[in-house]
């Protein structure tokens, strides 16, 4: 199989230790500015991988490579290797529509479309060819249940999504990704624009996803990474370019960091 028939890919049983998505020597340049370089990092299936580090070290850019959102940035140039099993995610002819259906993404700022709650969810479904009312209904209810929003909105599905609170909007965005039944979820600081209570709510949801989805979450909140993640990767800015200075099981990163910068960072001395 090649990158071109990515859509026919079935979930395969992989040994638990193998990475679902593996980056090897991955670099991203915007024009002549390098966002990050030489990144080797694996995202393991069913686990939560936290990506931490100070601002401007390429964490979000790395996330954007995983669903090829970098294609939208005119000057972005990705080099190196990025593979999902046998598939080359950097292949120029890869079906990004299909990739993005299987890799959902949540951004820092909730971004529901200025449509009704219902349309926010049917629109992506219809675009991906799921047009039967009953199918839509079933998937939407399931997704809204999953993010704990169903009871809050089931009587006002026709209201504008913009009328929801920030935390509800973020959970709606999560549901919007989930209706497409993705395998991987990318989260770019999903809690940082929310109040503490909404933030905890979203964090609990991420917690509940362990095992069912493969999650990569960028966060500034080290305590959150410690609570949530199975594995943690620390990005660091060296001479204007992001690098991974250390990656491994979260407990090891926080308790016995190998890299001196990691030690300073997790103990709050640097970063």
């Amino acid at each position: 199989m090649t990158a071109l028939d990515f859509s026919t890919h079935q979930k395969t049983d992989r040994p638990a230790t193998a990475a679902l998505i593996q980056a090897h020597d991955l670099s991203l340049r915007y024009g002549n500015k390098t966002a990050f370089a030489a990144v080797d990092l694996g995202i393991r299936a069913g686990e939560i991988t936290a990506i931490v580090g100070p601002s401007g070290c390429g964490k979000s850019s790395f996330l954007m490579c995983l669903n090829r959102l970098t294609d939208l940035v005119p000057e972005a140039e990705v080099t190196g290797q990025l593979r999902w099993g046998d598939w080359d995610l950097l292949h120029p002819k890869l079906d990004t529509t299909c990739l993005r259906r299987r890799v959902g993404m949540i951004l820092q700022k909730p971004n529901p479309f200025p449509l009704s709650i219902w349309k926010n969810l049917t629109f992506p479904l219809a675009e991906h060819g799921i047009k039967r009312k009953a199918d839509q209904q079933q998937r939407i209810e399931q997704a809204l249940q999953e993010v704990g929003l169903w009871d809050e909105v089931k009587d006002r599905l026709k209201d504008s999504a913009l009328q929801l609170s920030g935390g509800q909007q973020q959970r709606l965005c999560l549901a919007r990704a989930l209706v497409l039944q993705p395998e991987v979820l990318l989260m770019d600081e999903p809690c940082s624009a929310l109040d503490p209570i909404s933030s905890r709510r979203v964090e609990e949801l991420v917690q509940e996803m362990r095992g069912r989805y493969t999650v990569a979450i960028v966060t500034h909140n080290l305590a959150q990474a410690k609570r949530l993640a199975d594995r943690t990767a620390v990005f660091w800015n060296e001479a204007g370019t992001g690098h991974v200075i250390e990656a491994g099981p979260t407990q090891q990163i926080f308790d016995q960091p190998h890299h001196p910068l990691t030690r300073d960072y997790v103990s709050g001395i640097q970063g």
Partner: protein, 288 residues
């Protein structure tokens, strides 16, 4: 203690000169506008009647009404907008959504549009005469006039519409792309409705310019005040009618005032209609 009290008594509260200047300027401008409006209302209100709107002009416009003029104006506007809206919105979409990877080209297009927007209307009139009337052989007709007006309105429409698209939060585009949604679907369902206020502003500005235009129409749609049979006939727009009555027809002033009042009322109606549509579109979009 002493110095501070003497300071405050000698200076008192300082007059806020910038605020006074701004208020004076604003009042002057509003007053000028009100003077013109009152003058037109004063002289024109007596003319306004159902008969004035529905009878044909007679005696070079001194008598009768303006029914043929209204029909010609409507047709010219129709031709203008049915060309300008699709072309203008299309170009705006291209510039704002699709030309991002080619900033040099879009900068070039934008600069040309800005220059075009500043070109005097008489130049558009001459271009319309040379191109539509003569080269394309459309003659003095409503079609030539409408197309010339479309050329004139396009730069304004495109720039305003483009601003409308640029004002749409990038989060929508990013969100749509990360869900793997098609660009066309995103455009239709999310971007276009969100950009609607900008589109309407452009449309209102464009219609305003088109309705007020005389110079570009004299050479293209012509002067004839008969009822047009089709867009191939010559037709006289309201603004030309006003110009002609006040400049060339002795004793036509009263009718000119009446026509001017109708023109102003039409503009007000069109503006309110446009903002009503924008409002409705946005509410409809949110509540489905």
């Amino acid at each position: 203690m002493q110095t501070s009290s003497s300071n405050s008594t000698s200076n008192g509260p300082r007059p806020d000169w910038p605020a006074i200047a701004i208020w004076t300027i604003a009042t002057l401008i509003t007053a000028t506008f009100c003077c013109i409006l009152l003058d037109i209302l004063w002289h024109g209100l007596g003319q306004l009647s159902w008969e004035f709107l529905t009878t044909a002009p007679a005696n070079a416009g001194r008598d009768g009404g303006i029914n043929s003029i209204l029909v010609s104006t409507g047709l010219i506007l129709l031709v203008c907008l049915s060309v300008a809206i699709p072309l203008g919105v299309g170009t705006a979409i291209f510039l704002a959504e699709f030309a991002r990877g080619n900033p040099r080209f879009s900068r070039w297009v934008r600069r040309s549009l800005d220059i075009l927007a500043g070109v005097p209307s008489i130049v558009f009139g001459l271009f319309g005469y040379a191109f539509f009337v003569q080269r394309l052989g459309l003659g003095f007709s409503i079609l030539s006039g409408g197309l010339t007006l479309a050329c004139m309105v396009l730069p304004i429409l495109i720039r305003a519409a483009e601003e409308g698209f640029r004002a749409v939060p990038d989060g929508y585009r990013l969100g749509a792309a990360s869900l793997g949604l098609s660009r066309w679907g995103t455009l239709r369902q999310v971007l276009l409705p969100s950009a609607m206020p900008g589109l309407v502003v452009g449309l209102v500005l464009g219609i305003g310019r088109a309705m007020a235009e005389t110079a570009a129409l004299i050479f293209t749609s012509g002067y004839v005040d008969r009822m047009p049979g089709s867009v191939w006939d010559s037709g006289r727009s309201l603004s030309i009618h006003i110009f002609d009555l006040s400049m060339n027809v002795p004793g036509g002033e009263q009718q000119a005032y009446g026509s001017a009042l109708v023109l102003i009322l039409l503009l007000i109606v069109i503006n309110s209609f446009a903002s009503w549509i924008a409002q409705r579109y946005r509410l409809g979009q949110q509540g489905r």
